[in-house]
Amino acid sequence: MKATFYFLIFFLSVALPKLTAQTKQTYFIDLQITNSANKTVKDAKLQVFSLSKTFVADKHGKIILNIPSGDYIARVSAQNFKSKDIFIGLKKDTLINISLTSIYGGILIEEVQVKGRILDKLNNPVAGLERLDKTTIEKIPALLGEKDPIKALQFLPGVIATSEGSAEINVRGGGNDQNMITLDEIPIYSSTHLFGLFSTFNPLAISSTILYKGDFPSNLGGRLSSVTSLTTTDTLTKTIHGEADLGVATAKASLSVPLPHLKSSFFLAGRRSYYDLLFKTFGKGNTDIFAFQDYNFGWIYQPNTKHKFKLTLYNEQDAAGTTITEAGFLKGSAEKKQSVVALSWKYRLNNQWNNAVNIYSNEYKSSLAEEKRNAVESYLYNFNTAIKDIGVKNTLAYTSTKINSFAGFEAIRHSFMPTKLTGDEQGEYFNFKNIQDGTAIDFSIFAGTLVELGTNSKLSLGLRNNNYFIRQNAYHSLEPRLSFHYSFNNSSSIKISYSKMTQSILRLTNPGLGLPQDIILSANSFNKPQTANHFSLEYVKDFEFDKEKFTFSLQPFYKNTHHIVSFKDGFDTRSLMYGATYKGDSYSDVITTGKGSAYGLEFMLEKRTGKLNGWVNYTYLKALNQFDNLNRGLAFAPLQDRRHSLNFVANWRISKNWNVGFSWMFISGQPVSVPKSIFLPINPDYASGKLQVDNNTPYFLEPGERNNVRMKPFHKLDVTSAYNFKLLGLDATLNLGFYNLYSRSNSSFYYIGKSSSKNTTTLGKPVLKSVSLFPIIPSASLKVKF
């Protein structure tokens, strides 16, 4: 009886349909499976229960089957989608469209705007690479609420600000003149506004900021210590959108406009400080100006999937000065201007081969002027420094599953005008150039390849050959770039790299905040191109804790530098202008060359997910420089030798509308030169030849070792809060923040002053004084998106 029952079941379920099928007519079912955005779903499955068969969709999301007429119940499923059961009453050839819904809820949208990118440090083969996206930058508290892509880098391991409030950076013990900063791959010569307080990059215009600290691909070069690559958007927009941001210091806005009929779109961004506008409105008497502004324009044209063109225009300028028109005319001004024009063309030859060419021009000018015209005096002194680049860079890349390679060249024509003093004095015109103008050709060829060696390791090999021609001098360098990446498993990897870098362009700049008078010089027979050798190691570990994702990285590094440049004692940039006690008539008067080294260890722990996310990092650094003409030839710690730095950055998403950001920064004190001893100020009376003690002048100083004292450690806590709300139907964000919340008196600089003493038997006591510029500073800004 039992056997009969089992036979019956088998017959009904298996044999009967087959038997009946043999007797029925068959029809086609054309099943198209899509998602809620009407895009095809690959690898979808159709399971027909009564047939005990499963059919798999092709790459177009289509399943075609030919089955007998009849009624069927079937299930359509796909990974990451909710399954759907359907009833099919098949009586003729049938076309069925099925739309699946994502298991993550909501609907799938056709295209997403990427607002945040997590750098996959684990699998990225480049050691010491850091990336900050626009969203991350916006969440980091900032001085005066001015979100800044360069200042945001200062919260990363191995990167510190040159001084408090400065937008200049030191990377792994390198000088601030050793950083290459590029905008859409175009080298930028001045990256700060307002005496260094802000970077020249409008955060609304920058979509991505990438920092290379020690492992440099061979298509990058030209500076010793780092490459910061900032990019504006390079994707076609499909809707008109933009942002406007009104802050304490500046107003800024951006606008993206699609031009679909032209297969293109463009964006505009601008930023302007408005102190000068306030003064024009409310100020009386003298005409003062103190302003900076920058503008970005990008036009993207993509006629098809093979070609993409991008035109980039960038202009930034600073102007500071005053004009007094009482009793004649007196004008003093400091101005700076930088203009960039670039056209890039990306051409996809096929699925493996791509070519990118970028033609650009960059012009940087800076001037410091004083003009006076009245009945008694008439003069104009106008100091100028400038450089103009015209460059072209072409990169051909090959990409496959096992190997990625590229090769190309970069040619730049630099036109230098390092120092020029023009003007007139009492009717006599003058025109001095204590360092002659010049033209240099900077030509590099490069190639690199990334090869997968088995499943766990990748080897990157690169070579850059730089050839620098200035007057009769030619300098050639070969720069190997090697790195090896090994994955221990799915959660940990190690990278090791070596890079050599060469720098032929010098940017003489004063330490700390100062006049915007960076002087751009060329390498020459006196100061040969600087070189650096970088060795980097990086261990990365991804792990989960309490269902949250973390990334831990540890990066030891070492680098040595040769032919690096420093001002001689007594000199700074003013020495190449006028009015300085120590004047320079040539390179050798002002600067001297030497060598340096730096090593350290960087540690970083990132929490990448959750309502509370952020990172903590610590860097140990030791840097030493040695110049034959400085410090009696003994090695000394340069200004950027900041032994310990520690950063906490946290972002807490309290609710859909509230976001709070915290950052705490600690940096060991900067080395400074403090006198060893003092002695009485004795001066000659030139009339009588006698000596006299002048108590009204400062003590004479006996210099000590260079940078022999550390300034007190720097630390601060910044907070920012963002509240999202609707303003006239638009998405708006109100940012409120505090810089240096506990108002620590961090030292901007030290100087030798006198203490006041009421004791007549005691001499006024010479003391070391610290000056702090930035107490607690509140900020507020309102941003509207449309």
């Binding site: 003062d288 001002f567 009339a687 000596l691």
Partner: protein, 278 residues
């Protein structure tokens, strides 16, 4: 030529008032116990007498300084010339740290080399100078003004002494018996072989100024530039105004001097003085 920073400094101050009003200063304690050294300062020139200062330095960072800390009592100061003549200098009664002798007994002559030997409690130092062989003379010296009813402008020029490249020049302006400014290198510019100087002068009630053109040996010249820079930095920073801070000197003050085993300078100079009236 003037220092341009002073002209737009008011604008910076006004605009950055929110920052400058927040500038905070504090004294940084230093725990340093350096040794004091003998200090010798002397500038030889043909004049009625020779003065040499001998004192002591004090470690920077001490809690307090008393005048006596800077003295080097009972020093023995000898000066000699290239012919072997030696003269012992005597401590000055009004200032015991200054040792003097009359040039009637020991004349200073242009172009000659002199050596000083000072023996103190901590040892002996030696230093030498060669007096410039030739003096540069004023080619032009003009006092114009007043400008804006406030100050006068002194303009002068002179030609480089062609045969002597190892000398340098300075200018000192004095009124009412007092130097207007200790900085002797300020406002000097050179075009080919012609030097010019221009300075603003606040005369007050005085009717005349004494302008002295100094022809100095390299040691004195280097020392004077160092002290000029020290004064400039001191003046720039004592107000701690934001504009001064950003436009001030950012480098390292150099060492200068030729006192082996000690500190200071033993140099020499010649001079040409003109008296100018308002």
């Amino acid at each position: 030529m003037r220092n341009i920073k002073t002209k737009f400094a008011p604008a910076l101050c006004l605009i950055l008032i929110s920052l400058s009003s927040c500038i905070r200063e504090e004294i940084i304690p230093l725990s340093r116990n350096g040794q004091s050294k003998i200090v010798v300062i002397g500038f030889l020139t043909p004049a009625p007498q020779i003065d040499i200062y001998v004192g002591r330095s004090q470690p920077f960072g001490k809690l307090d300084y008393q005048p006596i800390d800077f003295t080097e009592p009972n020093a023995v100061v000898k000066i000699s010339n290239e012919y072997g003549s030696v003269k012992v200098l005597n401590s000055n009664s009004s200032n015991p740290s200054i040792y003097s002798c009359s040039q009637t007994d020991f004349p200073i002559i242009a172009g000659k080399k002199y050596t000083i030997t000072v023996t103190g409690d901590t040892g002996t130092i030696n230093a030498s100078t060669v007096v410039p062989p030739q003096v540069a003379y004023w080619k032009t010296a003009v006092l114009s003004g007043p400008q804006e009813d406030l100050y006068y402008t002194f303009s002068g020029s002179w030609e480089k002494i062609a045969e002597h490249n190892d000398v340098d020049y300075g200018v000192s302006i004095k009124t009412n018996g007092k130097a207007l400014d200790l900085k002797t290198n300020e406002g000097i510019n050179k075009v080919n072989n012609l030097y010019t100087v221009k300075r603003d002068v606040f005369l007050g009630n005085s009717q005349t100024i004494h302008v002295t053109l100094l022809t100095r040996d390299p040691v004195f010249s280097a020392f004077s530039r160092k002290t000029d820079l020290t004064v400039e930095v001191f003046e720039n920073l004592k107000s701690s105004a934001f504009s001064d801070i950003i436009s001030g000197f950012k480098g390292v003050i150099p060492d200068a001097g030729n006192i082996s085993g000690g500190i200071g300078v033993f140099g020499s100079y010649l001079k040409d003085t003109k008296i100018l009236n308002k």
